[in-house]
Symmetry: C2
Subunit: 378 residues, 2 copies
């Protein structure tokens, strides 16, 4: 397990690197598709691998509730369960507890909540969450944290940061005792949009000496300016010798913003979710396949895309599939969106290697954001 | 375009053959998956080809209503529209008019009906249905027919047969004048379960000298005994030098019954529909992936299946995907079911070639029908 920076952009903090984990090498900057229920929705694991993905994410909260971490362990662990031969990062479940579960109650020791599936009562602690992820067998696990909602005041953000820091220390202790040889635990920096809270959080996480660091609490509804300011400020606080992971970010424009500030890894349901909602990623911005003259054309989703969908199918065909509510509408558009993002990340890595990331980013975003009639990403 | 019998079973009318059509050779007996809306639900066209399928079916009724046959023609015809490089058979739309549409009115000239999508009024005639399929550009088209419901009396079955015969003659005349060089028109034998009506229908269709013959009006709710008696009686009436196509049959047991009586081609939504309803085809009969101890096992859907799903995934994983309502549940199970049927048809062709089809069929059905706790196919 190692992290090796292979190229640095001369004008920005952007860097390319190779992250080695138990299930192979990941070239960064990289985007990680999300397999919430041990399945990246609407795409075969073999297709993910063929598109170049070497690391994906799964949600501990969902798998803890169904089928249960013990059941996944009985079935050989998460890699075997979902037939994914690359690396897996599992989140802690904290974000879902705070966004999906009902009747949650946070105390110093942990969080109690009711399942969004059946209302059953559950309790997670920093230690039990490490245990869940040990049973899942992910390559990288995350500690239980408290993600304060966007727009909370200083006191609330400070309190979330405090709890996050104490829980991270407990998670780190359990991890070192239990599974540090086989799995990594990364830290999560919180602190809302308050620079001093981010600095304090980064300092505390750094003290835990974990092999990677995530930036949490972003892409939850804040303005683009606040997003960029917080990413820039926080990324610069993190140890440059370790991977930096910006949680919950998956649109091309926000990913490129993160890369420019030195982020290495990203994850989000964005490209797969918008695919199921009939939006295709293109060089000229997201394309709606439900309406508009552009979706009626006998041409590929993106004329420059080399993916199997763009090689075979027209926009008009995909629009037809969405109108007819065909399953293949989601399958084909998901494949394209993930192919598009994989190609974008490959281009970003090449631009960093060539020392021209800034010009690359400007060129991509000029086209991406200025499509007549196009829709903004998020 | 040709049909060449390559092997005959010595003890039954079963035969193996090669059907050559504009989009390649089809080895029979063969099953044709159904792509209702220009998409075989939940499977990539490239995967169909990889599984060995060389001929699939699409529904004229659905494509006529949405996106419209003219729109398909504008987009390069049905093969290009759905990116299917093999052969396409389109049905006439008659069956859907009589099962899906509302307010239908049959007269001597054709049928008027309201769309099940938006209630709009439409009219199809034997001639216009040939026109629709000419625009779609299928390799084999079917004439507008009247499929009497199961259990109708002699008079109703006789009247349906009469109309079917007169409409077939009109369709054949239009086909010969318009598109007989590029596309085939096959006849459809109706007549319910009345042997003399089937004989009269077969005689009238034979007089039209069409390059293939379908057996219609079966698998619509009749008993297994009546199904087999009608298939046996009707198939024996058809020209042995032309392909015989049993419409609407897709379960392993009924397919093998048809093959035994000399049928060459089959189509049905059965394997793809039961996949979406969490039923997997196995040597030991259909397996429910929603409940039961067999679905919890850490073993493949079918231990003898060589498909990509059985190589990678456990029953327990697929059960989990169905419980979590994941799209990949339908995608993976559909792939397996079509792989299972493709392998079954390949084995049937080999058994015919080896002159032991009867023993092959008995052996398959003994296991297929006698699974403890298994469910019957249909």
């Amino acid at each position: 397990m190692s992290f090796q920076v292979t190229a640095r952009d001369p004008l920005t903090p952007a860097r390319a690197a190779t992250l080695r984990l138990p299930h192979g090498a990941v070239r960064t900057p990289a985007f990680m598709p999300v397999g919430t229920n041990a399945s990246v929705k609407a795409i075969w694991p073999r297709d993910l691998a063929e598109l170049g993905y070497r690391m994906i994410l799964a949600n501990s909260y969902h798998l803890y509730l169904r089928p249960g971490a013990g059941e996944v362990a009985r079935l050989g662990g998460l890699h075997r369960f979902m037939a994914w031969t690359g690396n897996l990062l599992t989140d802690s479940g904290g974000f879902q507890v705070f966004s999906l579960a009902s009747l949650r109650a946070v105390d110093e020791d942990g969080v109690s909540f009711r399942s969004h599936l059946d209302g059953s009562l559950h309790r997670l602690t920093p230690e039990s969450v490490v245990g869940v992820q040990t049973e899942l067998g992910s390559d990288v696990m995350m500690p239980l944290d408290v993600c304060a909602p966007a727009g909370v005041d200083y006191a609330a953000a400070a309190q979330a940061e405090e709890v996050t820091a104490r829980w991270a220390a407990r998670a780190a202790a359990r991890w070192r005792a239990a599974c540090a040889r086989r799995q990594q635990l990364w830290g999560i920096v919180q602190g809302g949009h308050f620079p001093d809270l981010r600095a304090r959080s980064a300092e505390r996480i750094r003290e835990l000496d974990l092999p990677g660091t995530a930036i949490g609490g972003l892409s939850i509804g804040e303005s683009p300016a606040r997003f960029e300011a917080t990413v820039a400020h926080t990324a610069a606080l993190l140890d440059p010798a370790r991977p930096r992971y910006l949680m919950g970010v998956g649109s091309p424009d926000l990913i490129l913003c993160g890369v420019e500030h030195g982020v290495d890894l990203f994850d989000s349901v964005y490209p797969t979710r918008i695919a199921r909602n009939a939006q295709a990623l293109t060089c000229a911005g997201p394309l709606s396949l439900r309406s508009g003259p552009a979706s009626l054309r006998d041409e590929p989703l993106d004329a420059e895309c080399a993916c199997a969908v763009c090689a075979a199918h027209s926009r008009a065909y995909l629009r037809h599939l969405f109108k007819a509510r065909e399953i293949m509408a989601a399958v084909l558009t998901t494949y394209h969106n993930l192919a598009f993002l994989a190609a974008l990340m490959e281009s970003a890595r090449q631009a960093i290697g060539a020392g021209r990331f800034g010009a690359f980013k400007s060129g991509v975003l000029r086209r991406y954001r200025h499509r007549p009639g196009g829709e903004a990403g998020s």
